[in-house]
């Protein structure tokens, strides 16, 4: 009886563990091993282990620019998502029950639409002949269309739109645990609204900001559809480069090496950010 009960959790975990092994762990291992083989043009994957792919990435400035652009973009998207998502979550948590339900649908709406459809929507808005430029030209604010398609700014705008809901949800979960009386207490001690938000509310939702930030950062760094459609061929990021190496140049080993480095950097950034923030704000994480 005792052994039966203690075995139950393992049985319940089995399907999940098997799924993870089959679809996450195994492909990662395959990817890692693939990245350690040479690419021979006209032949394909060579036979002897090598670090040539990594050496090429370390050497070639072309890749440095792409990596810098990818993580710069991911960092910027994360910062903007925090700036938009935290106040949004706070306002949501203050709404009456009915308005909250409506607002959550609006906030989560973008997540219900296919990433490709949504991104093409942005392409329509951002193009030289797009809605935004037409309005700007008509209003006389600009004399020439503002270039937004195929630019860094365009990709950042579209990614923020896609990823803000993750930040809102994470921060909102944190806000649920906040004792509203702490805000009243601060107010009674003489703090104005802004001071209450900055000194009392924000530090207490740091765990939510952190988890939201990690999700947004990882998704932004590995986003494919949005940079591919809005950024196009000219504004390459690591995921689109991987795609091109695999399917354009058929250089699978280099593509795999790029993928491995992407995963490693995302992991490294996530873990160190986690450590740093948890140490700085350890009292709210207990």
């Amino acid at each position: 009886m005792t052994s039966g009960r203690s075995a139950l959790p393992y049985w319940l975990a089995t399907p999940g563990v098997l799924m993870t092994l089959a679809f996450v762990a195994v492909p990662l291992v395959i990817m890692l091993s693939l990245s350690l083989y040479p690419f021979i043009p006209g032949v394909g994957v060579g036979e002897h282990l090598t670090i040539a792919n990594y050496a090429e990435m370390a050497r070639d400035e072309y890749f440095h620019v792409i990596f810098a652009r990818t993580f710069g973009m991911a960092a910027l998207v994360t910062v903007i998502c925090i700036a938009i998502g935290v106040p949004e979550a706070y306002v949501l948590s203050r709404l009456s029950e009915r308005w909250r339900a409506v607002s959550i649908v609006i906030v989560l709406g973008p997540m219900l639409i296919s990433v490709v459809v949504r991104t093409l929507g942005w392409a329509i808005l951002l193009g030289n002949e797009g809605v935004i430029n037409k309005l700007l030209l008509a209003s006389g604010l600009v004399t020439e269309p503002v270039k937004m398609m195929f630019t860094f700014t365009g990709v950042v705008i579209a990614l923020v739109h896609v990823l803000v809901p993750f930040m809102v949800l994470a921060v909102w979960a944190s806000l649920q645990k906040l004792d509203g009386a702490t805000e009243q207490a601060a107010e009674s001690l003489g703090a104005g609204l802004w001071t209450v938000l900055r000194r009392i509310v924000f530090p207490q939702v740091i765990p939510g900001v952190l988890s939201g930030g990690l999700i947004v950062f990882a998704l932004a760094a590995s986003a494919f559809a949005t940079p591919a459609i809005i950024g196009g061929r000219r504004l390459k990021v690591v995921p689109t480069t991987i795609y091109d190496e695999f399917l354009g140049n058929l250089n699978w080993p280099l593509g795999a090496a790029l993928a491995v480095v992407l995963v490693v950097i995302v992991l490294a950034v996530s873990i160190s950010a986690n450590r740093l923030v948890e140490r700085r704000y350890k009292q709210v994480f207990l």
Partner: protein
């Protein structure tokens, strides 16, 4: 004379009256308890004084100034919340310093005042701890210190003992009382615990269903409750619906003629006798007879439940030796006319 004054203060949500027009004046340095069952409007009243709830009508005057429309952060009142509402991400010292910081007190003086306030609540050595690392009683004292550090004109306490266990609560009550005397701050406390209100308050404001039922000093309110609710909420009481057609030394309760020293009042009345005022007696002197249906030993006194023709009655006797009756005993009950209180019957009590 009166330092804090509530004039016709009321709060209505849609059609629900949470607090009916209430008047209260509190003298400087006085300790007033708002006492009542949950939902009686006591917390809403406190929240209106604090400024977190906007009154539907009425005014709040502090030291002669109308503060009804002043924002909470400009009222400068010290508030201790039921959950304490300590800032979890700040140390004890930072919590206490927060109000001073908001007032722009320079950091040198600030740390001096934080230290002295923490001394006041015996938490000097805890200055560097975080709220999470403290016990319930310590957290409560931090909350108190944080509210007192700004030297508020009025201290508001919302069920401050609610989260403490019984023994600690008693200790904190005595400490709070002593502290309030020492600091001399005008204090309003909300509680549903009548013993706590009587222990702490100079005056008790008894509330029920959004109305103030009675205001008085604890002893006076206990001895002279103005109705069924007051008599049963503040201590235990035997209350009977009585009638009297014309002035005389007795009233009629279910055909029994019970004595009273209040000979004038007539009409529909409530007849109130406290359990500790009732004696067991021999048959001839008994006002009413009954059978002991239950007996409980409560340490310092015995509590008897007596089944009588008037209904179940409670009698309590100080523990001065063996109990004077056993369960199942037939006993006669007697009390002096001056120990029975007569008040007009209100419709609600009927």
């Amino acid at each position: 004379m009166s330092f804090l004054e509530l004039k016709g203060l009321s709060k209505r949500y849609d059609d629900t009256v949470v607090v009916a027009a209430s008047d209260l004046s509190v003298a400087k340095g006085e300790f007033v308890c708002l006492l009542g069952p949950s939902g009686c409007g006591k917390t809403t009243t406190l929240q209106m004084v604090a400024g977190f709830v906007q009154p539907t009508s009425g005014r709040i005057l502090l030291d002669g100034k109308d503060i009804t429309n002043v924002k909470p952060n400009k009222r400068g009142l010290g508030i201790v919340f039921q959950s304490y509402a300590l800032f979890p991400h700040m140390t004890v010292a930072d919590n206490v310093a927060f109000g001073l910081e908001m007032r722009g007190v320079p950091s040198g003086e600030r740390s001096k005042r934080v230290a002295s306030t923490l001394e006041l609540v015996h938490l000097g050595p805890m200055a560097g701890r975080y709220p999470r690392e403290l016990s319930g009683g310590q957290r409560q004292r931090v909350a108190l210190a944080r509210a007192l550090a700004i030297q508020p004109p009025v201290l508001l306490l919302d069920e401050p003992m609610g989260a403490l266990d019984a023994k600690l609560r008693e200790e904190m009550q005595i400490e709070l009382r002593a502290l309030q005397h020492r600091v001399g701050v005008t204090t309003i406390m909300v509680t549903h615990d009548q013993a706590e209100a009587m222990t702490l308050a100079d005056r008790v404001v008894l509330m029920n269903k959004g109305c103030i039922e009675q205001i008085g000093r604890p002893f006076e309110m206990y001895e002279r409750p103005n109705g069924r609710f007051s008599s049963t909420f503040l201590g235990k009481a035997n209350v009977f619906s009585a009638t009297r057609a014309q002035a005389g030394p007795t009233v009629n309760v279910l055909g029994y003629r019970l004595p009273t020293s209040d000979t004038a009042r007539v009409g529909a009345l409530e007849y109130i006798v406290r359990p500790e005022k009732i004696e067991f007696t021999s048959d001839s002197a008994a006002l009413v007879k009954g059978r002991v249906s239950a007996r409980a030993f409560l340490g310092n006194h015995w509590l008897f439940q007596i089944e009588t023709p008037l209904g179940a009655m409670q009698v309590s006797h100080a523990n001065t030796g063996l109990p004077k009756a056993e369960e199942g005993d037939e006993v006669g009950l007697h009390w002096a006319p001056e120990n029975a209180r007569l008040v007009p019957r209100t419709e609600e009590a009927a």
